[in-house]
Chain length 325, copies 2
Amino acid sequence: MTKIGILGYGNLGKGVEKAILKNSDMELVAIFTRRNPNSITPATKNVNVVSTNDIENYKDKIDVLIICGGSATDLPIQTPKYVEMFNVIDSFDTHAKIPEHFENVDCAAKKSGKIGIISVGWDPGLFSLNRLYANAILPDGMDYTFWGKGVSQGHSDAIRRIKGVKDAKQYTIPVDEALKAVREGKNPVLSTRQKHTRECFVVVEEGANKEQIEHEIKTMPNYFADYDTTVHFITQEELEKNHSKIPHGGFVLRSGKTSEENSHIIEYSLKLDSNPEFTSSVLVAYARAAHKLNMEGVSGCKTVFDIAPKYLIAKTDEEIRKTML
Amino acid sequence: MTKIGILGYGNLGKGVEKAILKNSDMELVAIFTRRNPNSITPATKNVNVVSTNDIENYKDKIDVLIICGGSATDLPIQTPKYVEMFNVIDSFDTHAKIPEHFENVDCAAKKSGKIGIISVGWDPGLFSLNRLYANAILPDGMDYTFWGKGVSQGHSDAIRRIKGVKDAKQYTIPVDEALKAVREGKNPVLSTRQKHTRECFVVVEEGANKEQIEHEIKTMPNYFADYDTTVHFITQEELEKNHSKIPHGGFVLRSGKTSEENSHIIEYSLKLDSNPEFTSSVLVAYARAAHKLNMEGVSGCKTVFDIAPKYLIAKTDEEIRKTML
């Protein structure tokens, strides 16, 4: 059994709780929170809800701590801090800051003899793995990543910050023709606009200027200006009824040549009903790996690139060779 | 640099030779053959063609031997034999006999201190990896594998053995509706007939009984009887013009739930112009891994499940974290 602690009980933490229920070799021991523990009622019976102030008491009671904080301000502090006491997993996804985060976690983990697996999820995570495998196999080729159809939390938030907007949901949508051209091995050079469109569902306050809001959305630099964007104004009821889920997904493709005559396409895709629940399931699989590897004496910071696939699954080496190879 | 030897110069061996040209950290040192070495003219200049009788002379001259023999009779003997002298890679694909082959190679490799990575390619190989990753992440779900559209060498050979048949090519084709139902998360239970169809292009000898041949193909047990099979009689010229390539590919899907409400689809697919050239490219990536791992002191038999992804690529850990994660 792998004994798990969850740090942070938002969408991701709740997803980890559900994922543990799907894995009979996993046990949820405690949920740690910065909030008042009494304010939280976990879905799992008999699980402790503990203030992060008391987390040290669990040093010998859990095998892996899954840190479910945000990449902007939580994880850069939490992951190096808690790897001093626990094997940890995080989903740090600020791509540009991964090298720095890696160094901080590695330094702390090597001192404590624990393992910290960072940037686990689907991108970074499963998509990264597929980029690496495909590049190793087809060194002469081109990479393509498409995201969606799915909800972008960052873009939804950006719309919500506009004056007069009550609520909003933004979907990132890959452009079919672009995806088709890649699949056909045409190796297109694609601009930002040619790869994705953005679709926004917006609830406004009474008397708000819709025309002005639509203009502000469509011209917002970085977020929307470089895309073909569609804006739909809907009611709060419609938003709740039709747009309450957090689906996502995407495609990683590599097109490459092995000789003058022969080209190949490798494609990996995800279609997810719930982005946080799926991400949590990846975190739990890597928690299993962290536990196994640390029992073998491995410590330091790791990423998905460093973990042999066999460590992710609750089967013996003999079983996987017999049933999955 | 990784110095490579190729054992066997058929389609696969020739593919390995081409793959090495695409990898600047790889060098082809020698091609070993059971035929008369003078009968072989390699595509690469200045490469030695050597009788397998003299392979021992290359013990310290190559880092990895890529064994390009067949699974039926060659590999069960060759891989355990040559791992006594070299790090080796093979593409052993008789699924049911993998455990036995593993034990034989493991025993010899542990004695010699070399590493032998077996069953490398795309199925077994990349498809196996995707089955494992997807099962680890979505333990509550269903697996689907579809092959094609592609040439099945075994089925083409079976047709050629029929009296009156001069030449033949057989394509395995996944059934679109079945694939679509899986992608939509319907978790269909599919019979053999519902998953694939078989299309045959047959050249007959003059005066042969086409009706009889078509009947023999369609009712052939194991090979065709359980499938909807189409037979086209064509000329030798048409066969050579339109069916000389060896394309293949396929799909690995897993559909799984993380909670009552939320389902997810993970899909991996390959579209290959040349089955042997692509398989060879996978072999070469794992040859790099074998070399790196053996330099770290690792020995014994391994499969794709045991190899951390980072070993496959000719980049440093820092580079891959920075550019691919």
